[in-house]
């Protein structure tokens, strides 16, 4: 087997994995700030998909403008969900589990009622392929991966250097101590939840032309995101990125040897192997 083929397979794997990292980072951000797992996270991804379908495929707005709008709109929906529901669940893991599962059903059923149960195809925004160094990648995949990487970098810069970003890191490490330094916990919590959902919405917008849009589309990326989070370590943002790279490379290489259904199982195999060696994941703290 040639090296080119291996690199090509890795490239294919990374492409989609970067988008799943976006979903995983959103879940992780929400987990670190509110100490809860949002099981309805995939439904915010689905919302991003439908926004893209209507704005881009139906109304024909520019793809990147649509993407920006999907991010904003789903982020706003996240803020509303936090103010109405999730702010009462801070630190209440079990309650949040039940409530977010309920929200998942409500959002999926509402999507079925409003948009129908059938898949809605979103046309590719970009056509053609790029060839370089003996590798081939479709322009669409390239745009999807690069956009995901830009969003990941933006999140990093925001958390590292901005004032609200610092406040979020402080709340993640010790919420009471952050409040005593003058951080408005309610504000950070709404903002953090909103940004987490915005990332899911962006991911939905990026993958809408790759897969079709449907009420249940959120299941696949969320499963991938959970695999990534468990590999990387619960609550660790760098862990989510590394976990995504690992999952992407395993799936990419796996696709050389097996069909796509079997490839989907590989992720779980990696989870088992990682947990055997490091029960808290690669970057999991004490």
């Amino acid at each position: 087997m040639s090296i080119d083929l291996l690199v090509q397979a890795l490239l294919n794997g990374f492409g989609l994995a970067m988008v799943y990292v976006l979903v995983a980072l959103g879940l992780t951000l929400i987990f670190s700030i509110l100490e809860i797992i949002n099981f309805a996270h995939g439904e915010f991804y689905m919302l991003g998909g439908y926004v893209t379908y209507y704005v881009f495929a139906v109304f024909g707005v520019n793809y990147f403008a649509t993407l920006g709008f999907a991010i904003l709109a789903v982020g706003l929906a996240g803020v509303v969900a936090e103010r109405l529901i999730f702010r009462y669940l801070r630190g209440k893991t079990l309650n949040a589990f039940i409530v977010s599962l309920g929200l998942l059903w409500v959002m999926q059923a509402s999507a079925q009622l409003s948009f129908g149960v059938l898949d809605k195809p979103v046309p590719s925004a970009f056509s053609g392929i790029v060839r370089a160094f003996g590798l081939v990648i479709s322009v669409e995949r390239l745009v999807v991966s690069l956009s995901a990487i830009v969003l990941i970098a933006a999140l990093y810069l925001f958390l590292r250097w901005s004032r609200p970003g610092r406040a979020m890191r402080a709340v993640a490490q010790d919420a009471d101590a952050a409040a005593l330094q003058g951080v408005d916990i309610e504000l950070v919590s709404a903002l953090g939840f909103g940004i987490g959902c915005a990332l899911a919405g962006g991911a939905g917008g990026l993958l809408a032309p790759v897969f079709a849009v449907s009420p249940a589309m959120g299941a696949l990326p969320v499963v991938k995101a959970f695999i990534i989070i468990i590999i990387g370590g619960m609550g660790s943002l760098p862990g989510a990125v590394v976990g995504g790279l690992l999952l992407g490379s395993v799936e990419g290489l796996g696709s050389l040897f097996m069909g796509s259904a079997a490839v989907n199982v590989l992720g779980f195999l990696v989870v088992i192997l990682v947990l055997l060696v490091r029960p808290r994941g690669l970057f999991g703290g004490a």
Binding site: R166, A170, D174, D176, L180, Q181
Partner: protein, 235 residues
């Protein structure tokens, strides 16, 4: 400057703090001493807004802050260095200090305060780029106090600053508290299990047991009280 009137805190139906009244005047150092579980920390958490009081009133600088959330209370000049240090372990010493000035917008003034704090705590200046989680217990305590000073407070609340520290370090902390009070005129409310230390620094003190104030007066008077001697100063 600070006036707690009949303050109560309930967890469920259990009263952790039961009608406690405490005052701290401008420039004063006041201590609350008492055993573990007496409600000292709950009192402090109520007055800085971390828990809702179930009754009573908290006045600070003439404003009723009983129902305020913590971030607004800090902005009013009341800074709380909590029990157990509660630093941001993954942030560096410098980042922790900057978090202390989170509500201040005047960059020059923050830089001045930062300079003063680093001058007061040379050990922190040496370790400024180190993550707070890697500091020793004494250094962490100094960082907790330094962080609380970064907001430029009119009053400082210190919860168990001597906890878990060697006697030499306890003396150092004591000297630091005194100099902050003297040089900057910052009022201090000090909560301690180490009654000997607390009564050496404070001008006045309250003795708290099972949620109530059982005794109060000047530190000199309390040092001579038979109850305090027997229960807290080792006879």
């Amino acid at each position: 400057m600070l006036e707690l009137t009949d303050l109560s805190v309930h967890y469920g139906t259990v009263a952790a703090v039961d009608s406690v009244s405490v005052t701290v005047a401008e420039g004063e150092i006041v201590a609350i001493i008492g055993p573990n579980g007496a409600g000292k920390t709950s009192t402090l958490r109520a007055l800085s807004g971390l828990v809702r009081p179930s009754g009573g009133r908290v006045m600070f600088r003439g404003t009723d802050i009983s129902r305020w959330r913590p971030h607004r209370i800090v902005a009013l000049g009341l800074s709380h260095a909590p029990e157990g240090r509660r630093l941001f372990p993954q942030m560096t010493v410098l980042e922790n200090l900057r978090m202390g000035a989170y509500r201040r917008r005047d960059r020059d003034a923050v830089a001045r305060t930062l300079g003063e704090v680093l001058e007061r705590f040379p050990r922190l200046a040496e370790r400024r780029h180190q993550p707070a989680g890697t500091l020793s217990g004494g250094e962490q305590q100094m960082l907790t106090i330094g962080r609380a000073l970064m907001s430029g407070p009119a009053m400082l609340i210190l919860d168990e600053p001597s906890f878990g520290l060697a006697p030499l370090l306890v003396r150092e902390i004591r000297a630091i508290v005194q100099s902050i009070n003297r040089e900057r005129g910052v009022a201090v409310l000090l909560v301690e299990q180490n009654a000997r230390m607390a009564l050496a620094v404070a001008g006045r003190a309250y003795v708290m047991e099972t949620g109530r104030i059982v005794l109060s007066g000047s530190a000199a008077m309390l040092r001579e009280s038979p109850h305090v001697k027997a229960a807290y100063l080792g006879g």
